[in-house]
């Protein structure tokens, strides 16, 4: 496993995409949060917005780039055929996928921590309240799980354009669908299975949501685990 990790780390480190995507995650997260705090002019308690969710709004934008990073890391190899070199050098496919997941999680945790802490500081400087530790830590974990979800989907789908569509669709269609549906029970059900809506419950402080913060993050974790499991299984079974 150590060698696989090292190889995947070298691979990621020497891929130019990572060098703009990771700073992009940090920048977009901080900028999005700062903009949301600036937009929401009313007093945090007054207009019914959860201050923690507003202060960490940028996570909802940064997640797109995190997912993209995961997709690029896998589909870039399939697109060029380099995946065959990878699997020739590291034939224990499950281990290789785990190594990729490990490296991706690592860099996402770093970028996520910078982005989320940056959001917290930006919000605090512009007069917002300090964010609770659970929301901060939870948001970083949320981003890491989004990376794993993207990785799993990309391994299943293999084509970069299609994988991008599937992942971004998963991330952004659920929230829209929930708003468009009138039936309360159906809305609630969709909310509970939506990776983004349920996952971001971990940021909630004043909102009373259908799922608790960690249970909500658990929904996203289940998505990520399911996607990785499917990806791993298909990677083992399919010809490269």
């Amino acid at each position: 496993m150590r060698r696989e990790l090292r190889a995947e780390w070298t691979k990621l480190r020497t891929a130019p995409a990572a060098w703009w995507l990771l700073p992009g995650v940090v920048a977009l997260t901080v900028a999005g949060s700062a903009a949301a705090v600036g937009f929401t002019t009313c007093a945090p308690a007054g207009c019914g917005h959860d201050p923690a969710r507003v202060g960490l709004f940028g996570v909802q934008l940064g997640q797109g780039l995190v997912a993209l990073l995961a997709v690029v890391a896998v589909c870039g190899e399939y697109g060029t055929g380099m995946i065959r070199t990878t699997l020739t050098a590291m034939p224990r496919r499950a281990v290789t996928l785990a190594a990729k997941a490990g490296v991706l999680t690592g860099v996402t945790l770093v970028a996520g921590t910078l982005g989320v802490l940056g959001s917290a500081v930006a919000g605090f400087l512009s007069g917002g309240s300090a964010l609770p530790p659970r929301a901060v830590v939870g948001s970083v974990l949320y981003l890491a799980l989004i990376a794993l979800l993207g990785l799993g989907v990309a391994t299943v789908v293999r084509d970069s354009a299609a994988a991008t569509g599937v992942v971004l669709g998963l991330l952004y269609l659920f929230p829209i669908a929930i708003l468009m549906i009138r039936d309360e029970d159906l809305r609630l059900l969709l909310w509970k299975i939506s990776p983004v809506n349920a996952g971001l419950a971990v940021q909630a402080t004043t909102d009373v949501l259908p799922l608790g913060p960690w249970a909500g993050l658990g929904v996203l974790a289940a998505w990520a685990a399911g996607a990785l499991l499917c990806g791993g299984l298909l990677l083992r079974l399919r010809d490269a």
Partner: protein, 503 residues
């Protein structure tokens, strides 16, 4: 160009995955429409008993309306006039309980609480009418046939004289500060109005609408009971009146299981003074499900279409096939145009097949579950059905142009989704203030979603007219034109760059 189109059509048709993707997109529209209609459920209770929800009455033009008010009336044969003075208006609003279980009622009027004089075909809900009335906060108005609303001379409160005059099918509304100097508010034509109509005094008050952020995302509007009481005097009916005795009706009221009226209105008569109390509204119905909600699957279809359209061009770059394509037709700029025409055309045809059947299907399934879909005019329905298919087609063209510009599949898909879907998601999530959300839906390609809006905003109906509730800042075709402009711009750039750049 014909040859180029044929070549591109052959290319699209012969990759099984692409055609399968586009067919899948169409099936997703139908599937999600049917699924959500089947999963949705609506029921109403009358006391402890669950009953099917009442079907809203239809107005003179076939649209669903709300027609609930307290009416003190007498028959009028042929032409005639009714005059009355609204001496004062008051009312009460039930607020959220401060102490659980204890009704928290405050006095006050909602802005569109209304009382005045009315001429109506019958007391049947949905029948044609014309009224001149005083409102809680919008002064004197003349309203008729639910959707029409004309403002009076200026902001004026009680006391106010109001007069309606019928001459054949034409009804004129007037107002006066003193009963002597009259100003015309407006004229209504009610085609086919029979000789015998009802004429009288009325009062109504729509619920108190409060908009709160929904914790699940977006905003939620909740309506709370409100009623209005108007003190009216100086009542006179001139013309071929029969008898002159007043009848009273709680028009459109719900009846409790024990036979009593739910939230009854009433009349307290003190000599020539009429105190009329009523609740409800006389307005177009905007609270039920709309046709475009049955097309919710078009969002998923949109993603599929974007991916296929991008792949249609990006795989050519990846495999170097683009060289062959450009050699086969040396006028390079035409290549993306031909590709766009083919992928857009196929998407439109398949999309239209899906959007044409889905609303009817969803309506049928929904009716079985007690979900009522608001009827719209044939023209509006056609616009929504064709418009959503066209939205998919233009999105495909946009994505294809981005694919040609970026050459890299994932970049093009990301850009298409970030400019088309994400602004929509942001606009309808409550996190962005409504004004910012409206600008997002004016300036970004997401403006195109306006094509699916089937209900217009009514100035005289209080409601949540936010993007989250399905109301777009631009008119349907204008919004669609914004998306088309983006697609045309991207396609133009793609054609220009493919002409100029080395392949």
């Amino acid at each position: 160009m014909t040859r180029l189109l044929r070549a591109e059509w052959t290319k699209l048709r012969t990759v099984r995955g692409w055609m399968a993707g586009l067919v899948l997109a169409a099936l997703l529209i139908v599937g999600f429409g049917a699924l959500f209609a089947a999963a949705g459920h609506s029921s109403c209770s009358r006391g402890p008993v669950e009953v099917p929800c009442p079907v809203p009455p239809l107005g003179p033009d076939g649209l669903a309306v709300e027609d609930r008010f307290y009416f003190v009336h007498q028959p009028l044969d042929g032409d005639g006039t009714i005059t009355a003075r609204v001496a004062s208006m008051s009312g009460q609003i039930r607020l959220p309980d401060a102490t659980p279980g204890v009704r928290n009622v405050v006095s006050g009027l909602v802005p569109w609480a209304k009382a005045g004089v009315m001429i109506k075909e019958s007391t049947e809900p949905g029948s044609p009418y014309a009224a001149v009335l005083l409102t809680g906060a919008h002064g004197v108005r003349m309203q008729y046939d639910y959707t029409e609303d004309l403002a009076g001379a200026g902001p004026s409160g009680a006391p106010r004289w109001l007069r309606l005059t019928r001459a054949g099918e034409t009804i004129t509304g007037e107002e006066s500060p003193d009963g002597a100097r009259w100003t015309r508010v407006g004229t209504a034509r009610l085609p086919g109005l029979p000789a015998r109509v009802r004429v009288g005094l009325f009062a109504a008050s729509p619920g108190d609408i409060r908009v709160t952020p929904n914790t699940l995302g977006g905003s939620a509007a909740s309506s709370r009971f409100a009623e209005a009481t108007a003190l009216m005097d100086g009542v006179s009916v001139r013309g071929a009146a029969t008898g002159g005795a007043w009848s009273r009706d709680d028009v459109g009221a719900e009846v409790n299981p024990d036979g009593s009226v739910h939230h009854p209105g009433g009349l307290v008569r003190n000599g020539e003074e009429f105190a009329v109390t009523g609740t409800g509204d006389i307005a177009p119905n905007t609270t039920q499900s709309t046709i475009e909600r049955s097309l919710i699957g078009s969002l998923v279809a949109l993603i599929v279409v974007i991916v296929v359209a991008v792949l249609f061009v990006s795989t050519e770059y990846r495999r170097g096939l683009i060289h062959t394509t450009l050699l086969a037709g040396p006028r390079r700029g035409r290549v993306p145009v031909a590709k766009a025409a083919v992928v857009g055309g196929v998407t439109f045809v398949l999309g239209l097949a899906a959007t044409a059947v889905t609303p009817a299907l969803a309506r049928r399934i929904g009716r079985g579950n007690g979900v009522y879909t608001l009827p719209v005019s044939t023209f509006t329905e056609l616009r929504v059905v064709v418009g959503v298919a066209a939205l998919l087609a233009v999105a495909a063209v946009f994505a294809l142009a981005l694919g040609t510009l970026f050459r890299r599949g994932s970049m093009a898909v990301v850009t298409a989704i970030v400019t088309l879907v994400v602004p929509y998601a942001l606009a309808i999530a409550s996190i962005v203030p409504d004004e910012a959300a409206r600008w997002l839906l004016r300036l970004t390609p997401a403006a195109g979603f306006a094509i699916q809006q089937s209900l217009p905003e009514y100035a005289h109906v209080t409601g949540l007219y936010a993007p989250a509730a399905g109301y777009f800042p631009l008119p349907p075709w204008a919004g669609f034109a914004v998306l088309c402009a983006y697609a045309a711009l991207a396609l133009g750039l793609a054609a220009y760059r493919i002409e100029r750049r080395d392949a």
